[in-house]
Structure formats: structure tokens, C-alpha cells
């Protein structure tokens, strides 16, 4: 049973071992068609977001990792440090988007259904209700200046749910090592802009509900 689970479990991060064993990354497939989340999120947005934006983060992350590998081998400390921002931007972009695709689901596969079981009761306990949580995440998303993400997370140390935001492509862990993402909403403009007739607050609503 455990072995079958191991074989069939889909890793959100697709990897392969390159030259000299440096692990580089490739674009994970979406578990649904580009158009499967319509009308909430358009197929055009999904395709651009996945094939262009996420792919670009992966391409640039791999490039940065190769440069890092080379700098480490040469003992070039200043280049190693200089590469950190490219790694955070692009590696963070890859990590965050991999989570995002996995958490969205078409309506026919349960996307948009309210959460049940332990997640449902944890939300009620900590925020009062699902509606209150949605309102809080919407407010945080709308208030975010520039580009970033809104997260529902578990704080493993405090043992409860929290709402948090990160700037640009900073992964959630940069806000606290004990934070584990449950839901992430991409609030970079590329995530919703082509549906300009859809207001931003509607995007926040549908994106949240598609992920619970």
C-alpha cells in the first residue's frame, strides 16, 4: 500500500538530474486542461500563466543554479552572494506556482466546494467562519502594494491557521520557518489582468474558492 502510494504520488516539483548531478527543474503538467477553470479563470490566462510565466521562472532558476554551482566550485563567494536574489525570485516563482496549480481544481472535480473535516473546523475555530476568512484574505490581497501572494497557512509552532502575504515571489517560508502553505493566491497582475472585466475582488474570491 505504502509503495503504491509512493509510486502514484505526483510530486508538485518536476526534476531531473543534469550534468554533474546538478538537479534542475522542468515545468510540471497541470492536472487539468487550461480551460477547465472557466469561467472563473480563463483558459487564455491559464495557458500564458503556465507556459510563459511559470516556465520563465524555471528557465531562469535553472540558469541561476548552474551559475551558483560554478561559483561554489570556484570558491567565488561574491558571485554566490550576488546570485541569491535571482534564486529567490525565480526559485520562489517556481515553488509558489507549483503549489498554485496543485491547489486549483475544476468545479466538476470539487473546486469551489467549501472545506470539510479538519480544515473546515480549523477555519471556523480560528476565523469564525469561511466567509470571515475569505473577507480577510480578500482584504490582504487588495492591500498588497505591487506584486505578491496571499496565503492561508498553518503555523506549525503556534498550531493554528494564519493569513499572511509575501512580496514578489518570496516563498511563504521567508515570513517564518514554521509556516506551511495551505492556499496561495497569486496577486501578480499577470494572474488576472486579461480578464479585466472581472474585478480584482472577484478574482480573489474565485481563486480562493477554487483552492479550498
Amino acid at each position: 500500500m505504502a509503495l503504491r502510494t509512493l509510486i502514484t504520488r505526483k510530486s508538485p516539483i518536476s526534476t531531473h538530474l543534469g550534468f554533474r548531478g546538478l538537479q534542475t527543474f522542468s515545468l510540471p503538467d497541470l492536472p487539468y486542461d487550461y480551460g477547465a477553470l472557466e469561467p472563473a479563470i480563463s483558459g487564455e490566462i491559464m495557458q500564458l500563466h503556465h507556459q510563459k510565466h511559470h516556465q520563465a521562472y524555471i528557465t531562469n532558476y535553472n540558469k541561476a543554479l548552474e551559475q551558483l554551482d560554478s561559483a561554489i566550485s570556484k570558491g567565488d563567494a561574491s558571485t554566490v552572494v550576488k546570485l541569491q536574489s535571482a534564486i529567490k525570485f525565480n526559485g520562489g516563482g517556481h515553488v509558489n506556482h507549483s503549489i498554485f496549480w496543485k491547489n486549483l481544481a475544476p468545479v466538476l472535480e470539487g473546486g469551489g466546494e467549501p472545506p470539510k473535516a479538519s480544515l473546515g473546523s480549523a477555519i471556523d475555530n480560528h476565523f469564525g467562519s469561511l466567509e470571515a476568512l475569505i473577507q480577510k484574505m480578500n482584504a490582504e490581497g487588495a492591500a498588497l502594494q505591487g506584486s505578491g501572494w496571499v496565503w492561508l497557512a498553518v503555523d506549525k509552532e503556534l498550531k493554528h491557521l494564519v493569513v499572511e502575504t509575501t512580496a514578489n515571489q518570496d516563498p511563504l517560508v521567508t515570513k517564518g520557518p514554521s509556516l506551511v502553505p495551505v492556499i496561495g493566491i497569486d496577486v501578480w497582475e499577470h494572474a488576472y489582468y486579461l480578464q479585466v472585466f472581472l474585478s480584482f475582488s472577484s478574482y480573489l474570491n474565485v481563486s480562493f474558492l477554487a483552492q479550498v
Binding site: 505591487g146 506584486s147 505578491g148 497582475e189 499577470h190
Partner: protein, 227 residues
């Protein structure tokens, strides 16, 4: 320290007795005038919704506060607070940045400047092509939301290219801004989607108002000479 407070093309800000409300200024051309390089639809959303929201939200934030009645530039410097941003900084700076952006473009723009501006660009960048490359690179590599700028640094009497995140602008960094390009995704997503480099090429080839940049340089040098 050279002061860039009060530096603006905006007539409203040169008068200390300003109307209490910040107004939304229209671009100096109709919304379809930059087609096909920047679509009317982009201007309608970018100016009509984004820029307008910054103005409306700023006015809501400052009413009844000590910022009410101050010039836009004064609000920006005050709320920048040496990098420890007050909540209204983003709106204030974005109002100014967008005014400056519309005025940095014109129908039939682009190409190469002439006169003193071109001489200074050649002096400080090596050639116009090298300036253009540095400007486009800065704009392409500003991660997330932000702006790229050609600025005049009075202390060194030099032209520089800089990039800034989110709403930060040269006024708070003590440079005189001369030219800007908006690289928030909303600026180019309808026309170019993810292709920011294509947007930047079209901007340089077809949209830049070198007349505006030259005027700003003359004004900057005159102001710098007074301080």
C-alpha cells in the same frame, strides 16, 4: 543636499495655495493617440482605472490629516519617510509617477534626441545605443512591479539610469527624473502579455517624447544651479 522638492511639470504643484484635493490629470493627448503602439484599451484601464484609483484613494487617505492641502511632491517625500513608508506613500507616488509617465510619451515619439540632451547621453553612456541598452535592461530586470528612469544627478552633474520597485521614484532618492517607463504588468499586459522586452522596444522606438525629456533636463539644471 540638492533638493528636488517642488520639481515637477505639474502647474498645480508650483503654487503653494493648492486646492485641497489632488486631481486626476489627463494625458496630454487623446486615449487612442498612441495606437497601435499602446492601445486605447490600455489607456482606458491604465489611466481611467489604475491612475484614477490612486488619486481617489489618496484623497480618501489624506482628508482630515496634516497632509491635506500639501502639494503632491510634499506628500510623497513626507510619506516616504526615509524608506519607512507611510500607508499613503504608494498612492501619492503612483499619482505622480503616472502623470510623469503620460508626459514622457507622445504620438509619433521615439527615435533619437538631439541637442544638449544627446551630447550628455553620449558623454555619460558612451553612445545613444548604449544608453538605450542600459535603460531597457534596467526596465526588463526590475523584478515584480516598478519603474525604470533616466535621471540627472546634480551632485555629479551626470545622467544615470536607475530602476525602482513598486511606487518608489527619483524624488525620494534625490535625483531629478527625466524619463520613465512603467513596468508594472498592468502597463503592458493587454498589449504584450508577458513580453515585457517587446513593450520596451516599442516604447523606445515609437513613444518617448524627447522634447519632454529635454525640457525636464533644462529645468533640472536650472533648479540645481539655484541650490
Amino acid at each position: 543636499m540638492a533638493s528636488t522638492q517642488g520639481f515637477s511639470l505639474s502647474a498645480r504643484s508650483s503654487n503653494e495655495n493648492v486646492a485641497a484635493k489632488i486631481e486626476l490629470k489627463a494625458p496630454p493627448y487623446p486615449l487612442d493617440a498612441l495606437e497601435p503602439h499602446m492601445s486605447r484599451k490600455t489607456l482606458e484601464f491604465h489611466w481611467g482605472k489604475h491612475h484614477r484609483s490612486y488619486v481617489d484613494n489618496l484623497n480618501k487617505q489624506i482628508v482630515g490629516t496634516e497632509l491635506h492641502g500639501k502639494t503632491l511632491e510634499a506628500i510623497i517625500v513626507n510619506t516616504y519617510n526615509k524608506g519607512d513608508l507611510h500607508p499613503s506613500f504608494n498612492n501619492a507616488a503612483q499619482v505622480w509617477n503616472h502623470d510623469f509617465f503620460w508626459e514622457s510619451m507622445k504620438p509619433g515619439g521615439g527615435g533619437v534626441p538631439n541637442g544638449e540632451l544627446l551630447e550628455l547621453i553620449k558623454r555619460d553612456f558612451g553612445s545613444f545605443e548604449e544608453f538605450e541598452k542600459e535603460f531597457k535592461t534596467a526596465a526588463a530586470t526590475q523584478f515584480g512591479s516598478g519603474w525604470a528612469w533616466l535621471v540627472y544627478k546634480a551632485q555629479d552633474n551626470k545622467l544615470l539610469v536607475i530602476k525602482t520597485p513598486n511606487a518608489v521614484n527619483p524624488l525620494v532618492l534625490d535625483y531629478y527624473p527625466l524619463l520613465t517607463v512603467d513596468v508594472w504588468e498592468h502597463a503592458y499586459y493587454l498589449d504584450f502579455q508577458n513580453r515585457r522586452p517587446d513593450y520596451l522596444s516599442v516604447f523606445m522606438e515609437n513613444l518617448v517624447s524627447w522634447e519632454a525629456v529635454s525640457s525636464r533636463l533644462q529645468l533640472a539644471k536650472a533648479q540645481a544651479a539655484q541650490t
